[in-house]
């Protein structure tokens, strides 16, 4: 074993329980100075919990932490930051009404004599940092004006600007596109050069291998192993995480592609223009593009969440208008939103109620809900999608992110739609679950549904789609067929080039 002095952070025997859920039991984590340390584990393995314990948001039930060779205990983030640890949180948390500068320097304000705010100086400093990151907005812009990805960037900027010795990044790239991710990686390398340690949590294996030096793996709240990344293969890591082998993350099955189910013509709205495409029975249509290219906007508009300016939609040959999601669902178009927290779940209601919410009309006896049937069917669906919860009567709140995502998918699975739109269906979902969700998508397609999947992860789009549409700045910029990918005619680079506007 290495000498103790090598470590900047040592966590020993940490345990933490929430009510009856043992989120962490006797885990350890050792991080060296100047390294990027990956933390891997399934959804709900306890990664975020350990990180929140380190920065003092949770208090561990047992265990000790040593930071820079000194016993370390903090009451909250302020003390953690003062000690030299900052964190990018998994669940994006913008302060909607603060400006970018105010947000970055929250709790570290520039002041005159410690009392009055020096807004000018603060804005100047913020502008400087933003420029360094080539951020497209000024320091006075309100956070609520930013897109998810931009908020994520601000979170990164904020954590990096703290001059911390250790930066915790909990799934920082879950809503970034490849360009922005590259930007982040450049920053991480810079930090590394300065001797800053980074704990990097992600479910994207490729990233882990690209940027990280060492890895620790958690499973079900316990510590599994810790090793140099150079010494392991992807499959070994996955089996450590999941405790079994995941044969194939992209278990795409080919099924018969039938007649056109859904078609849009010249669809124009906020963020997209002149979109034309059709999707067939049994087809998985992948949609790729940079963040902010208007993919989500298109789908939101189709689903009735946003307004359409012009253009028309046809479902099974009949023209239709969706004024609201309600109308869309009635006609058989369903959508899993990218923003799980905002559009996915009622966190304080039970899993059962969440799953059955859009499916109640069909499960009534007279005017009453047939609760027996509801319970039975929800249980079946939850089991099928391997939602990890003690019972479906638990609140959505108590689930890990990946499991929440499964619940959201479960409700549409139950609805059995004609067209299922999935916007970033595997964001923040672990490999095992990812594979499960992917095979579910194939099952949907096999049942004759038309599946539309938006994803910012190129391997996912390429691995799962029968056909890929590529967006660039609100317009369609090309179409790629599965056979072109399989034959190798269309590689990752070519698709990327199209995303950037090339031909």
């Amino acid at each position: 074993m290495e000498k103790k002095e090598d470590y900047i952070l040592e966590c020993e025997g940490i345990s933490k329980a929430f009510g009856g859920t043992q989120a962490l039991s006797n885990v350890q984590l050792h991080v060296r100075r100047g390294e990027v340390h990956a933390l891997l584990g399934e959804n709900g393995a306890g990664k975020s919990t350990l990180m929140k314990t380190i920065i003092g948001l949770y208090k561990a039930d047992a265990g000790s932490i040593t930071f820079e060779g000194m016993p370390y205990s903090v009451k909250g983030p302020v003390e953690a930051i003062a000690a030299g640890i900052s964190m990018i949180h998994q669940e994006l948390n913008p302060e909607p009404y603060l400006s970018i500068a105010e947000s970055i320097f929250l709790k570290r304000e520039n002041t005159f004599g410690g009392i009055l705010l020096n807004k000018k100086e603060q804005n100047r400093r913020a502008a400087e940092i933003l420029e360094k990151f080539a951020f497209p907005f000024g320091p006075k812009t309100l956070m609520q004006e930013l897109t998810l990805a931009q908020v994520q960037m601000i979170e990164i900027i904020k954590a990096v600007s703290c001059d911390a010795q250790l930066i915790i990044m909990d799934e920082p790239t879950s809503s970034l596109d490849s360009e922005e991710t590259e930007h982040l990686f450049r920053t991480i390398r810079e930090l590394k050069g300065k001797g800053v340690a980074v704990i990097y949590i992600s479910h994207r294996m490729d990233e882990i291998f690209e940027i990280c030096d060492r890895v620790s793996v958690f499973r079900d709240g316990t510590f599994v192993n810790s090793c140099e990344l150079a010494d392991v293969t992807k499959d070994e890591l996955i089996s450590m995480m999941v405790g079994r082998n995941v044969a194939n993350v992209f278990p795409k099955t080919d099924c018969e592609i039938g007649e056109t189910v859904f078609k849009v013509e010249n669809l124009t709205g906020n963020g997209f223009e002149n979109i034309n495409f059709e999707v067939h029975k049994g087809e998985i249509l992948g949609i790729s593009g940079l963040v902010g290219s208007g993919r989500s906007e298109t789908m939101r508009a189709i689903f009735g969440l946003d307004k359409i300016k012009s253009g028309s939609m046809y479902l099974e040959g009949r023209k239709m208008v969706n004024k609201s999601p309600r109308a869309a669902i009635k006609k058989g178009i369903c959508m899993v939103n990218e923003d799980r927290k905002e559009y996915g779940l009622c966190l304080f209601r039970s899993i059962r109620e969440n799953i059955s919410l859009p499916n109640l009309p069909a499960r009534q006896r007279g005017i009453l809900i047939n609760q027996k049937r509801e319970k039975k069917e929800c249980n079946e669906v939850a089991k099928m999608l391997t939602v990890k919860a003690a019972s479906i009567e638990h609140d959505g709140f108590s689930l890990s992110g990946g499991n929440q995502q499964k619940v959201v998918i479960a409700k549409w699975f139950m609805a059995n739609p004609k067209v299922l739109i999935l916007d970033e269906p595997t964001r923040g979902v672990d490999v095992g679950a990812k594979a499960e969700i992917h095979s579910l998508m194939c099952e949907f397609a096999a049942k004759g549904m038309a599946v539309i999947m938006i994803s910012s992860e190129l391997p996912e789009v390429m691995g799962m789609s029968d056909r890929i549409l590529i967006y660039h700045e609100g317009k369609l910029n090309g179409e790629v067929l599965r056979k072109e990918i399989i034959s190798g005619a269309m590689g990752q680079e070519k698709i990327l080039a199209k995303e950037f506007g090339g031909k």
């Binding site: 999601p325 905002e342 966190l347 304080f348 859009p358 809900i369």
Partner: protein, 326 residues
């Protein structure tokens, strides 16, 4: 997976316990209260007194159910007290001054209060205004209307038929209790056993998620406020039958007792969480506070303090018992 199975067993047990406490934690408070008052005051224990309290709480009960629905959608209805006044004045005007049949008059009054409930919901849902602001304003408007209708006067209601709404009995049970019971059952079924109830929970829990699941925010909210208006109307009828006088200055501050009952019953101001059995207990706790204080004979200057302390104490105790946000 073995671990999961284990947790599941344990989980269900804990689950059951939590559900029990969640539903009945406040029941413990209620129980303690009954015991304490019983010891301090023997007259409290009689069946007669319980019937008495049940009759007394019928007015606040109606209002509380409506309030519970509205709070569960994430709102609040401050106009209920004024609704009592409006209903009362309409009844007085129609029955006494125009000689309209009492039942018809009740129908008209209920229509009016329901319409104002609808209006509340409409403003809240259509314009996305804050419920506190909307219902604060409609409170003033509704009470103003009551004043205009009554000219500020008290109109005596001498119709025997009408007075019987409060004083007649079904067997040994006074009619207001019967009405309260029926409304309780209906609201219980509505909230816990129908689509509409689920939608209320969903809209209150996470309005965007509800919309994205095909729930109509507009109709759910409008529905909740309209029902609140209707129930306030029924409460107004009982109130008017009880005092047999129609005037515009009644019901001032009645929304607070209703809110208190809801909160004691575990209704979350954040929306999305409520149970009708809980609210029933909340209603009775409020009823017992008044009844108990009167019977024990707490000095009048201390009554207000006692009430405040009991409410905050009960909420705290309930929180401790089932560790939730109160």
């Amino acid at each position: 997976m073995a671990v999961k199975e284990e947790k599941k067993v344990l989980g269900i047990d804990r689950d059951k316990f939590r559900m029990f406490m969640g539903k009945y934690g406040i029941g413990v408070v209620l129980f303690i209260m009954i015991i304490v008052i019983s010891i301090m005051e023997p007259a409290f224990r009689s069946a007669k007194n319980f019937i008495n309290v049940a009759t007394q709480v019928s007015i606040n009960g109606m209002i509380s159910y409506g309030m519970c629905l509205v709070i569960t959608t994430g709102g609040i209805d401050l106009s209920v007290g004024a609704q009592l006044a409006l209903v009362s004045c309409i009844l007085g005007q129609f029955i006494t001054n125009f000689g309209v049949n009492p039942f018809l008059a009740c129908l008209i009054a209920l229509l009016a209060s329901t319409a104002f409930g609808f209006l509340n919901g409409f403003f809240v849902a259509r314009f996305n205004m804050f419920p506190f602001v909307v219902t604060l304003s409609t409170q003033l408007i509704i009470r103003g209307l009551a004043q205009v209708i009554s000219g500020g006067n008290a109109i005596p209601l001498t119709s025997e038929t009408f007075q019987h709404i409060y004083s007649s009995k079904v067997g040994p049970i006074p009619l207001p209790i019967v009405i309260l019971f029926i409304v309780t059952v209906v609201v219980y079924i509505m909230l816990h056993w129908t689509k509409f109830g689920r939608y209320i929970f969903a809209v209150g829990g996470n309005v965007h998620a509800a919309i994205a699941s095909g729930v109509s925010e507009f109709w759910t909210k409008v529905g909740a406020y309209t029902i609140s208006g209707l129930l306030a109307g029924i409460a107004g009828i009982i109130f008017t039958a009880k005092t047999s006088s129609a005037q515009s200055n009644i019901g001032i501050g009645y929304e607070t007792d209703a809110v208190a009952a809801c909160v004691l019953g575990g209704t979350s101001f954040a929306g999305g969480v409520a149970t009708i059995p809980g609210v029933v207990m909340g209603i009775f706790i409020i009823g017992f506070i008044y009844n108990g204080m009167n019977l024990i004979g707490i000095e009048s200057y201390y009554q207000s303090m006692t009430k405040g302390a009991v409410i905050i104490g009960a909420v705290l105790l309930d929180m401790v018992l089932n560790r939730k946000k109160g």
